[in-house]
Amino acid sequence: MKRAQSEVVGLLVIVVILIFMGVIYLGFANLAGNGSLSSQRAGMETENALNALVRVNLEEYDGKTVQDLVVECANRIDCDTLGYALNEVYGAILRPGTDFSFWAKMEEEEIYSVGVCSIGVVSSYVFVRDGNYYELRLRLCNE
């Protein structure tokens, strides 16, 4: 009787070990998600959002582009218009719940910055106007 009991206990131990191993396998198999795919898309979204922003003709601002407004800001003519334009365009094109940070530099000197985004992919766009080198940077993040 004692021997039979110990055999049953041994069998139970084997069964428990097998179940334990199965659970660990299933857990690890489910871990592999598609996080890299969504981060790739986030990078693409940021790059395309900046690319679209610098080209778009702003109807409310006499058909000027954001590049024109950045140059005006750098020449100390007006920086508020740039801020209004950025909010108007990104308010319309970004998905609800997406925030942005935007920086503009002329010859490595920061001339304008807006936004509170601290984590996210950064995209940059460079252009030359009147012999000056400008760099625009955009970061998108989800609230």
Binding site: L11, V15, G22, E45, A52, R55, N57, V89
Partner: protein, 180 residues
Amino acid sequence: MIKNRRSQVHVSETILVLFVVIVILMMGVVVYFKFSVEKNKDLAEELSEEQATIMLAKAVGLQELSCDGTGCIDTAKFLPFKRVLGEDFDMYRRIFGRKKITITEIYPVPHDSAIDVECDVIKYIQMEYPENCGKWTIYDYNPENELGAKISTIVSLYYPEFDEYRVGRLEIEHYGDIRR
């Protein structure tokens, strides 16, 4: 007599152990099979999403749609592209597979009357164009009428007729797996 009984008990014990082991193995095989079927389904969906994401990245550079490699989409190419698509649909079906590709204008924000209105030749030749419509369906192939998942990105739209840039959203709806 007693020895004979002991051996009978032994045999029945062995049979019981074997039975339990076989039941456990069968349960394991069934669970594993179900799990791999689920995993394959997930993999098919993941591959379809991956393919759609690659297409999303490549679409802006497609010669048939892009404004000569400057990172924007030429809206004047939509109608000719749709005509070419109709003439050689098999070729484009091999490239795009079972998908729906649409481009919607999002900035300047279209008038209420133009939102979700499909742009076609008739709309194109009207004086109000491009304010009279706000959406182009570039490609649509969903023979089994499946429900799809959507991915999208922002694109720069160029209107050569007015030398004007606007902003749109390129959306790809993909259906389940990567069958063509």
